[in-house]
Structures are given as C-alpha cells and as structure tokens.
Symmetry: C2
Subunit: 262 residues, 2 copies
C-alpha cells in the first residue's frame, strides 16, 4: 500500500471510530443490556455488539477483500495474517464503560501480511483520537506526538493488570518496588494512551489480539517495544501476557519477572 493509500486508510479508520464514538456518547445514558462472557468481570453489552457490527460493515464496504477479527465475534474466523487484516475492539474497557461511563476506548488496527500498518485509538468520552503508523507518524487529533524518552523502570510508572499485582505474578511485587509506582486503569486502550503520551514506561497484562493491535502500531512507531513477556514472538492470532515498554524498561522488567541475567 503506497503512502496515499495508507493516508486514505488512516482517514477512513479515524472517521469510522469517530462516528462510532459519537454514537456511543449519544446513547451513554440509555439502559444497557449487559451479559457476562468468560467470567463475572468479562462483560459485553448491546452497544459493544452494535458498534462492532457497524465498524465491520464500514470496513467491508471499503475493503471487501480484507479479513476482520472482532472481539465480539461478528468478524471472520481469522487463521492467517495474509493481506490486509483489521483487528476491531468496539469497546475496550467494557467494565469501565458500564460502571464509569468513562475511561474506555474504541480501537482498530490494520496490518498487511502481519506487519503493523495503521492504528487508531479513541478515548471516547474525552474525544481524544490517537492514530498513525510507520509511514505516517503518530498524532493526537491533529498534533504530532514525538518519540517517547527511553526511560528505565526506576524512572517511570508501570501499568499492570490487577490480578498480576495482587498475586505477585512475574515477581510483580519486586517490579512495584523497583518502579516509581503502579497504576491500574482498566482498559488496554487507555493504558496505551498513557504510554504514547510518555506518562508511563510500561504496561503488562494478558491481552487478546484486538487489545494489542492498534496500540502496537503506534507504540512501535514511537520506538517502544511490544512483545510477549516470556520472549516468545508476538502472535497476533492468540492471547498472551504482553509487555509494552520503552527498551531499557523491557530489560529491567525481564530481569526481574523472568529471573533473567541482565
């Protein structure tokens, strides 16, 4: 895809999530139909499903050949990363959406033959749109975002999954002591925004491909690392424990989390 086609793709993706965000804000006080998925804390609402259907319909109209993986299952059953693949998270941070009406995101990542191409994350209630990719750079609304400073773990705040912190997974208590502090925000999209803005140096959680995809495009463009914590290759077709961090922080975290020599 050449630069003009990529710019057009990014423009379309921004339009789709902006329209979906406006729709959610318009219906934010409507009664919700909330269902649980894998557990009491894994929620989906009618608005998650509706938003995913709307986004997928928009993608199909413009890119009928593309494969689409959606969190709520209305996309394709994607088993390879050939060609143009979209990863759609219609509402990331559904618990925040349901309980807070705040701090949730819409995310779309576009990949070509497995390579990150364009990512878009909308902080829905704040109407702050982060978008970009390796050919475009990264922007907040219309303002370019600069490369993130390569801070180490001791210099920065660390976003983590609450269960990992509570139960000392990956020696998280030692990570807590070594870092400047831990933060728990409840949405991968909102955590990615903290990283893109340079407000945190790392985020560690169990993430699905639609949680990882959009932010990965932008985080890597700004010089951060996105990887499986255990060092295995990042697999965009399955879930795993994913670390997003500045390069010095990755080394600091792996040394503690995996008892690895530096």
């Amino acid at each position: 895809m050449d630069k003009a086609e990529t710019a057009l793709l990014a423009l379309r993706m921004r339009d789709w999530v902006s329209q979906a965000g406006a729709h959610i804000r318009h219906h934010i006080h409507d009664p919700l139909h909330v269902q649980t998925k894998s557990s009491r804390k894994d929620l989906v609402t009618n608005l998650d499903k509706q938003t995913e259907r709307d986004l997928i319909a928009a993608i199909r109209t413009e890119y009928p050949q593309a494969q689409i993986m959606g969190e709520e299952g209305s996309g394709d059953h994607v088993t390879d990363l050939k060609g143009l693949v979209f990863f759609v998270d219609p509402i990331d941070g559904t618990m925040n959406f349901v309980k807070q009406k705040y701090n949730f995101a819409i995310m779309i990542g576009a990949y070509i033959d497995g390579a990150p191409h364009v990512g878009v994350i909308l902080n829905v209630m704040r109407q702050e749109l982060y978008w970009g990719g390796p050919q475009l750079g990264v922007f907040k609304n219309e303002t370019p975002i600069k490369a993130v400073s390569p801070l180490s773990l001791a210099d920065g705040l660390f976003g983590i999954n609450s269960g990992m912190l509570a139960y000392d997974r990956y020696h998280s208590h030692q990570l807590f002591k070594t870092s400047a502090g831990m933060r728990i925000l409840g949405s991968a999209g909102i955590e990615y925004i903290q990283l893109l803005e340079g407000r945190q140096v790392a985020y560690l959680s169990h993430l699905a491909p639609w949680d990882v995809a959009a932010g990965r495009v932008m985080a890597e463009t700004l010089g951060m690392s996105v990887s499986r914590l255990d060092g295995h290759p990042l697999d965009m077709l399955s879930s795993g424990d994913v670390l997003i961090a500045t390069a010095p922080t990755v080394a600091d975290i792996r040394a503690i989390a995996l008892d690895q020599p530096r």
Copy 2:
C-alpha cells in the same frame, strides 16, 4: 458563617486554586527541582512549595484569623480545630505530576470548629473544578452534581493504594474478588473525583488530613461516608487508613477487611 459568607468563601477558594492551576500549567515543562521526603516515592518539588506559599498568602490576606495546615509545612502548626481551619494540598499526586504531567490535583478544604464547610478540588491539566459543601451543594465547574447512587461493593469499582492491594492488607485480595474491579490512579484528589462522579464506589488508602479534607466536604454532601477503616472517629489532625465509600459499600468492605459480622 451565613450562606452569603460561605458563598464568598467558596468563590475565593475557587479563584485561588484556579490561579494556582494556571500557574502550574504555564510552568509544566520547566525543569523541576525534585526532592524526596519520607521515601524514594514521596516527592516534593519547587512548584509544590511555591504553590503552597501562594495559596497560604492568599488565604492569610482574606482570613487572617484562620489556622492553615499545609502539606509542605509552610502553614501553621495546627493542634486544634477551633474556628476556621484551612487544609491545603498544593499538588496532590506529586509522583503523577513529576512523571506524567497529568492526573494531579490542587485541594483546599475549609472547616469550622471541625465541621466540613467548603471543599475545592481542581484536576489541574483537565481544568475541571469540583467544589461545594453542605450549604451549597456540589458542582463540577458550573454544573450541579447529583447525590451518588448507594451501590454495593459487588456493583462497583474500588480505588486502592497499590501497597495495600499487593500485600493483601485488610484482606484486599478478597475485596478485589468481591468488587467489580480495582483501580489505582496515584492521587487522592483524582480518586475523590471518581467517587463524586459515581465512577467508583470506594477508595481506601493511608491519607493525611490535607488528602482527606477537601474531598470529605463534597463526598459527605453527596451522601457518601468518610471514616477511618477501623471504625475509629476520623481525626483531621493525624494520618490514618481512610475509607471513602457509599454506605452499602462501607458495610461490605468492613465485613471483609475487619472480619466483622454484617
């Protein structure tokens, strides 16, 4: 203090924190002089100290008889709560201020003979000002905030101090399982805002009087409870483990945290 005098006090408090917030935003990218206090993670900067001096000077001009307790020590050595007492937190969430330039607050609480009178919390970077008291109601900027729904722990998100979650203090792992989820934001002021907005049902942390004071005025006005977790009377002259929550959530949390019968 009659209602007109209270309204004037609230207006002045809003002006003071708004001006202090504008000053901090203007200098947000200046080099900071950062010092540690009780530990590596307990920070103070030149801007905390300057802001406290400015706020205290403004208070002294209008209310020369008042006692003032300030986080950074430039106020009075307050040993009783007689008359008008101001509690000043010039930058609440100094770690966030230093590392994120985001998610920190300026807070002033005014008490008369120990009773909550007016509270003001400014989310500095968002320019969102929460203010009010029992005679005035509670407002976000110029918009009234309604009483918070009396949700229980299972229905809501729980803000907690990271150490308490990591080390299972007060059976926090059971609190985590029972609640809809834990959040860690790194600033008592920002946590109070989450509670005032109905986005979280509880916040538990080790707090000093200047952390508690402003938010307590507003939280109690909206029907929430502010207390020592162990049930001892809230003491506005010393630090302790403080729980702010809706009434049903207080009972849920005490039952678990203190092994108390319901």
